[in-house]
C-alpha cells in the first residue's frame, strides 16, 4: 500500500525507472491474492461471548415456572378512576379525506369526510379518543363483564366510533349500515371480512392487543378506526368532552395505567405527559392506588400540542 501511495505522491518520471518494477511487483502480489484465506468475522453488533453463555442457559431445560408475572393480589374491594383530558393548543382545521369511490353514498348531502385523528370539543377543549387502560390487574370484578354484543357500525363510509374498546371474547357485531358493501380489516387479527350492505357479522377478539390496533376498510382505504381489546376490560376511551371513567378497578394495590392517543408522538402512540404527581412516564404510564369504593378523580390533564402530532 505504501509503495502505491508513494507512487501517487511522486508525479514525474525520473524515479519511475526503478519504481515501476516495485509497482508491478505489488500488482503481481495483488493478482496472486486469489488464495488469501478469509478469516471469518462474526455478526456485527452481537456479543459472541455472551451469546455462547446464553446458548448454554437456553439449552438447559429448567421447569417452566410462572412466566406471566401477574401482580400478586393484595388489597380488597373496588374503586373507580375518573379524569379528563384537555387539549392545550389550537387543534386547527382537520383535513378532508380523499374520497374517490362511491361518492354518491360516501359524501351524501355534501358532507365531506374529514380526518378524525384529533377531535377537540371547541367549547370545553376536551380531547376525545384518548385510551386509558390498566396494564396489569390482579383481580377482575366478574359482575362487570357485559354480555350484550357491542355494535361496531359503519355509515356513510365512516366507522362511527373512531376508537372503540372491548373485552377479549366479548361479542362484537361488526355492522354495515351503508347501502354498499364494505370490508372490515382489523390489523394483526384474523379478521378481515366482507360486510355486505346492511348486514353484520359477529366477531370475538381472541387475544389482547397491546396498544390499540388499526381497523380499516380496504375497499374504501380512507376509512380508519382503532380497536383495543383487554382481557380484564379495565379500559376507557375519553368522551367528546375529554372525560373518561374506569369503574371497578381492584383497590388496595398499586395500579399502572397506560395512556394512548392516535396522534401521540410517543413510542407506539403512548401519550407522555409532564405530570410528576402521577409519576407519568414518557411511555405514557402513570401510577395510582385506589382505596375500596373510592372514586378517584385525577382531575384535568393538560395535553400540550407538542405531545401530539399536528
Amino acid at each position: 500500500m505504501r509503495i502505491c501511495s508513494r507512487n501517487n505522491a511522486d508525479d514525474f518520471g525520473a524515479a519511475v525507472s526503478f519504481r515501476t518494477p516495485l509497482m508491478a511487483a505489488a500488482l503481481l502480489a495483488c493478482l496472486l491474492t486469489f488464495g488469501c484465506s478469509p478469516e471469518r468475522v462474526s455478526t456485527p453488533g452481537a456479543d459472541a461471548g455472551r451469546a455462547e453463555q446464553l446458548r448454554a442457559t437456553l439449552s438447559t431445560a429448567t421447569g417452566g415456572g410462572d412466566a406471566g408475572g401477574a401482580a400478586a393480589s393484595t388489597g380488597t374491594g373496588w374503586g373507580t378512576l375518573k379524569g379528563r383530558f384537555l387539549f392545550a393548543g389550537a387543534p386547527g382545521e382537520s383535513k378532508p379525506l380523499m374520497v374517490d369511490k362511491d361518492t354518491e353514498i360516501c359524501s351524501k348531502a355534501g358532507v365531506k369526510l374529514v380526518d378524525r385523528s384529533l377531535l377537540v370539543d371547541p367549547a370545553t377543549k376536551g380531547l376525545a379518543n384518548v385510551v386509558v387502560f390498566a396494564r396489569k390487574a390482579s383481580r377482575v370484578k366478574e359482575t362487570t363483564a357485559p354480555a350484550t354484543p357491542l355494535i361496531f357500525d359503519q355509515k356513510q363510509c365512516e366507522f362511527i366510533a373512531p376508537v372503540f374498546a372491548a373485552r377479549v371474547g366479548q361479542p362484537i357485531d361488526v355492522h354495515n349500515s351503508d347501502p354498499i358493501g364494505h370490508n372490515t380489516n382489523i390489523a394483526g387479527s384474523s379478521f378481515n371480512q366482507l360486510i355486505p350492505a346492511g348486514q353484520g357479522t359477529l366477531y370475538k377478539a381472541d387475544a389482547e392487543t397491546g396498544m390499540p390496533t388499526m381497523v380499516t376498510c380496504n375497499i374504501h382505504p380512507w376509512m380508519k378506526a382503532y380497536a383495543v381489546f383487554r382481557k380484564d376490560g379495565y379500559v376507557a376511551v375519553s368522551a367528546a368532552d375529554g372525560s373518561f371513567t374506569i369503574p371497578d378497578l381492584p383497590a388496595g394495590e398499586p395500579l399502572e395505567m397506560q395512556v394512548w392517543h392516535e396522534r401521540s408522538s410517543g413510542p407506539n402512540g403512548a401519550l407522555g405527559l409532564d405530570n410528576p404527581a402521577l409519576k407519568w412516564t414518557p411511555k405514557g404510564r402513570f401510577q395510582i392506588q385506589l382505596t375500596p369504593d373510592e372514586v378517584k378523580d385525577i382531575g384535568t390533564l393538560e395535553v400540550p400540542a407538542s405531545a401530539l402530532g399536528t
Binding site: 525507472s17 515501476t20 518494477p21 508491478a24 500488482l27 493478482l31 496472486l32 488464495g35 488469501c36 478469509p38
Partner: protein
Amino acid sequence: MSTATASTTLSPDRVGQSLPPARKARPVSEFLSTYVFSKDHKVIGLQFLFSTLLWFLVGGLLALAVRWQVAWPWSDVPVLGKLFAQQGGQMAPEFYTMLFTMHATVMIFLVIIPILAGAFGNFLIPLMIGADDMAFPTLNMLSYWFMWPAFFAFGASFFVEGGAASSGWTSYPPLSTNVASSPGAGMGQTLWLVGLTLVGVSSMLGSVNYMTTIILMRAPGMTMFRLPMTIWAMFITAILQAFALPVLTAAGFMQLTDRTLGTGFFSPEGNIVNNAMQATGGGQPLLWQHLFWFYSHPAVYIMILPAMGMVSDIMTTFARKPLFGYRPMVYSIAGIAGLGFIVWGHHMFISGMNPALGITFMVSTMMIALPSAVKTFNWLGTIWGGRIQFTTAMLFALSFVSMFIIGGLSGIFMAATPVDIFIHDTYFIVAHFHYVLFAGTAMGVWAGIYYWFPKMFGRTMNEFWGKVHFFLTFIFLNGTFFTMHILGAVGFPRRLADAYHYETFHHLQPLNAFMTYCAMGMVATQIIFAINFFWSMFNGPVAGRNPWNANTLEWTAPSPPGHGNFDFQPVVYRGPYEYSVPGVEKDHLMQTDPPNAAEAAAAAAAHG
C-alpha cells in the same frame, strides 16, 4: 495542403530547431499544447496507446472475475468479495452478468478498436506514407478527447444504482430497452449507450482523417501500390468504419429513445416484463439485431484487418524476403471488407429470422472465408525460403498466423447453419472470437508494440523478457481458449452464472477450473510486459533510426521523430518489401534508396 506542409518540411533550418523563447516563457501552455491537447499525430497515437493499455488491464481483471465464477460458482470471490459482504462474499448473478457485459464492452470499444486505429493508425500512417502529420490535426486531437467522456460514461456506469449495463455487449432488446427487465437495464444501460455513441464519434473523426491523409498526403513517388500492407489495412478499415458506424449510432439513439421516451422501436406490443404490462409497443426486437450486426460484423474486421497489415510488414522484415503476393493480399483485404457488409445475418441464424434468409447469409459467410484463406497462404509463402530471425516481434507475428488459422477454421462451423443450431451461443463461439480477437489481434498488437517501440521511444524493448512474455502468453492463451472448443462441442452455453446444475454440463467444472488457472497465468504474465515496457522506455538499448533494417519510410525518420517527422522530404522509389535483392550488398533496399542497376535487373528478372 500537402504542398504547404511539404514546403515547411523542406525548410532546412527547422531540423533540430530549439523552442522559440516566446513559448519557453509560458511553460504551462507549452506543456498543455505539447502533451495534453497536442495535435501531433505521434503524441495522440501514444495517448491512445497508454489509455487503451490501461483499459486492457481493467478488461483483463473483469475477465478474471468472470472466469472465477465460471470455474467455482458462488464461492467467495477473493478480490471483489468485499462488495457483497452481506452475501458472505458470494457473487450475485446479476453482478456476474454485468461483469461479462463490461468485459466485452471494454475490450472491444475501449481496447481493440482504439488501439488499432487510434494508437497504431495515428502513429504509423503519416510516418509510413511520408507525411509530416495528419490531414486534420485538430480533428485528430478531438478524436482522442472524445474518448474521455466515453471513458467516464463507461467507468461511471459501474457505480450507478443497479450497476453497469448487464444485457451483454450486444445489448439485445427488450432486455436492454425495458428498465424493469434487469438491474443493469437502469442508468447503467443508458450510460453504456452514451459511451458507445461517443466512441463512435471518436472513430468517425479518426477514419475521416485517415482516408483523407492516405489519399492526399502520400510522399512523392508513394503510389497506392507502394503502400505498406499496414497502411492498406488502415485505409480499408477507415472506409469500413465510415460506412458501418452511422448505422450503429442511429440504432443506439433508437434504443436510447426506447428507454427514455418509450418510442418502442424494438419492443412488441403487450409485453409483460417483470409482471408489468408494457405501455408502448409496435416494435420488433429483431430490428435491433439487424442494425447492430450491420455495424458489428464489419467491426469484427475493423478489429482484425489492421493487425493483419502490421503482421505482414513485420513478417517480411524478419523473413528478409518480399511479401508473397502483394496485390492478392490487397485484394483479399478489399474482398473481406466488401463481403463484410453482407454477412451480418450469420449472427442471427436461430434468432427467428426467416430461415430462407439464413441460407443466403450462410453462402456469403462461407465465401468470406476465402480471402482470409488467401491471406494465410500468402503469409506462409512469405516465410517460405526466407531467412527468419526469431525476434519477439516476429514470434508474435508468427503466432498471429498460427492462431488466426484456428480462429478462421472454427468460423466455418458457425457458418454451417445446421451445425450452428447446436453450437450457437455455446463456448464454441466464445473460443472462435477469442482466437480471432485475442490470439489474433492482441498478438498482432504485441508484435506491433515490440516492432515499433524503438520508433515510439527511441529505445528497443528487452528481447529476452519479451520472449518470456511471448512464450507464457502463447501457452496460457491456448490453455484457456483451445479447451473452449470442446466445451462448445458439449453445448456448454455462454453467459451462465452457474451451468453445473444441468446434468448435461455437470462434469465440465474441472475443465473450467483448468481454464481459469490458465487465464490467471495469462493476466499475471502481462506484468512482465508492463515492467519491460516501462523499463525499456528509459533503460532499453538506444535504437538508431532503423534497428530492424526495415524498408518502410518510418525507419528513415529519427527515433523518436519530432514534429514534422522527417528531417528531409522522403522520396519513394519502390515498393516496401525489397528484401534480399540479388546483387545488392545489403539485404534490404529502403523505399527511399535511389534505384541502382543491379536491382533494376533483378526486378526485371523476377517480374519477367
